[in-house]
């Protein structure tokens, strides 16, 4: 779906693809993007990838991974040193100022620190992008009212930003970013300055907007929970290079890179410290339990994890720790089990592939 800006009437920005009833699948294409800062620091090394139209695309990485530079290349807030960024097949870096301004009006952006003008009210903040684009005042007023309704801040229209909470400020930021009816929304760590509850409501709002307006959302974050909550696709960036890219459930279920695993670690259920302290490498002489880690990648148990298959390991297995998350309809997660050593030998390998089941060690007596 295409949302033509009421403002961007520049014909040079209309490509044949936009007139096509079936727009191209790829909305944004990065071609061998490099960024070298003065002083020789290379932030991005020949990064190439595509962003699908209408989805929510997440770019994750530790600080300094280059994700902010990558995001800012889409609207040329930061110019890459080499390579091209294509938005609807237009080479963004080759645009002269008037065309770039017109393109930026089709790309909304929200920020970690909101970046609202302190000297203007909520209404003025949201309406200003239209005002400077020469939209008549009554139309601006109508549009601002619609958007404040959409983000749930209709009653705060005449308040200054300093009187708002962080979540409310970000809602104003979202309303402002949508004021030109953009086709793309860029989110620069949009929830990193917010508390968990507010983060949740802002992510819900972003997902709503994506569904309602059909725009392509590109977000950067260092928090895998954000990716899990709303993204369709994720790209993991480390040291200016792509570590991996794919559907969120795949990257969560079977991460390929060390950087990805490091980023996922806070979300996974590791071995609890008290158990780790008691863990033996070999089974005890008599009795005892084996501690097993089961990993569900979402591939082998797409709809849900079959309890029968877990019980098949041993009927008297005990669940110790862990959890299953549903990501894009795929059940995945980790479970720690204690199985009596006597019952274990026959069980291991019966129903689980080796990478999904690991014997972590043994404990004497009871767990």
């Amino acid at each position: 779906m295409l949302w033509k800006s009421a403002i961007a009437r520049d014909d040079r920005l209309r490509t044949p693809i936009q007139e096509d009833p079936e727009p191209a699948l790829n909305h944004i294409v990065f071609e061998r993007i490099q960024k070298i800062y003065p002083g020789g620091v290379q932030a991005l090394h020949e990064v190439s990838f595509e962003i699908r139209r209408g989805g929510i695309f997440g770019i994750i990485g530790r600080s300094g991974a280059g994700k902010s530079t990558l995001l800012r290349a889409i609207n040329m807030l930061e110019r890459p040193s080499a390579g091209r960024v294509l938005v609807d097949d237009i080479d963004v870096g080759a645009l002269a100022e008037p065309d770039l301004v017109a393109l930026r009006r089709r790309i909304g952006m929200i920020f970690q620190h909101f970046n609202l003008l302190s000297a203007k009210t909520v209404r003025e903040n949201v309406g200003l992008p239209l005002k400077v684009a020469g939209v008549p005042a009554p139309e601006v007023r109508r549009r601002v009212e619609d958007l404040l309704d959409l983000v749930g801040l209709a009653d705060k229209a005449d308040v200054y930003p300093s009187k708002l909470s962080g979540g409310q400020k970000q809602r104003v930021g979202i309303a402002r970013a949508l004021v030109h009816n953009p086709e793309i929304l860029l989110c620069d760590e949009a929830t990193s300055a917010l508390d968990p509850e507010t983060t949740h409501s802002i992510l819900d709002l972003l997902r709503d907007i994506n569904a309602k307006l059909g725009l392509t959302v590109v977000l950067i974050t260092h928090d895998m929970a954000v990716i899990r909550a709303i993204c369709d696709e994720v790209l993991v960036l480390d040291g200016g290079r792509i570590v991996e890219q794919g559907e969120v459930w795949q990257v969560f279920g079977s991460p390929q890179g060390d950087a990805t695993r490091a980023l996922l670690r806070p979300m996974q259920h590791g071995l609890p410290a008290d158990l780790a302290a008691r863990l033996l490498p070999e089974p005890p002489k008599h009795g005892g339990h084996a501690v097993l880690a089961l990993r569900f990648t979402g591939e082998t148990h797409p709809g849900g994890v079959s309890l029968a298959s877990v019980l098949a390991l041993a009927p008297d297995a005990k669940l110790l720790h862990g959890g299953i998350d549903r990501i894009q309809g795929h059940a995945q997660g980790d479970l720690l089990l204690a199985v009596p050593v006597a019952a274990m030998r026959s069980a291991v390998g019966a129903r689980f592939s080796p990478d999904a089941l690991k014997v972590l060690g043994y404990v004497a007596n009871d767990v």
Binding site: M109, S118, P129, A133, A177
Partner: protein, 218 residues
């Protein structure tokens, strides 16, 4: 107090107010233009012109460096060219304004530089042209500092204008020197000090009130 004396007070007060208000108005107008120019043409500014920026900065520094009383004398030919005389209130307005333009340029420049870079980035992202950013982001966001700087300027001007008595500009400072110091009328000196204190206090409180009115950051 003789009627002529109160007339002198009124006249001196009017002269001071004329010098202060005219030169402050001129200084704010030109100072803002120079400050915006300096901020916009800075190497990381909206219209980067590093060489031009350096040149303007040096000129401002030259005028900042010269003490007012020396500037007053050094500018005499320029003053004569501009207002046709080197004597009187209007002749004093010329060096006062130039002195103050340089001063206010730096004050306004600091306020403009303090505008959060994120706001400028956001404005670019929203498709603002560069002059929109100056008009709708830089100036309104720096306004509390710009207004606060005006207060400092008015008070600095009340001080400097006292020295303008040296070119026969009159004013309260001149009255204080001629009667209070040269004719040993300590009471005149004292009364003028009171008038000046009241004047400066009023300006300070008024300025602070105005600065609060335009500041929505809290």
């Amino acid at each position: 107090m003789s009627p002529t004396m109160s007339e002198r007070y009124l006249r001196a007060f009017t002269e001071t107010m004329t010098m202060v208000s005219v030169s402050v108005a001129i200084a704010i107008a030109f100072g803002l233009i120079f400050a915006v120019t300096l901020v916009a043409t800075a190497p990381d500014g909206l219209y980067p012109k590093p060489k031009f920026n350096k040149a303007v900065s040096v000129v401002v520094n030259v005028f900042r460096a010269i003490p007012f009383i020396i500037l007053l004398v050094a500018l005499l030919p320029f003053t004569r060219f501009l207002v046709g005389t080197t004597l009187g209130t209007w002749a004093a307005v010329v060096p006062l304004s130039i002195h103050l333009i340089a001063f206010y340029t730096r004050i306004a420049q600091v306020s403009l530089n303090e505008v959060d870079h994120g706001l400028i980035e956001a404005a670019h992202a929203m498709g603002f042209r560069r002059w929109h950013i100056v008009r709708h982001v830089l100036l309104p966001e720096a306004l509390p500092g710009i207004v606060g700087g005006m207060t400092v300027c008015v008070i600095a001007m009340i001080n400097s204008s006292a020295m303008a008595g040296a070119v026969g500009a009159g004013g309260l400072g001149d009255l204080a020197i001629r009667y209070g110091y040269e004719r040993y009328e300590t009471q005149v000196l004292f009364e003028i000090i009171v008038i000046l204190v009241v004047l400066v206090t009023t300006v300070q409180f008024g300025g602070e009130w105005l600065s609060r009115r335009v500041n929505h950051r809290r």
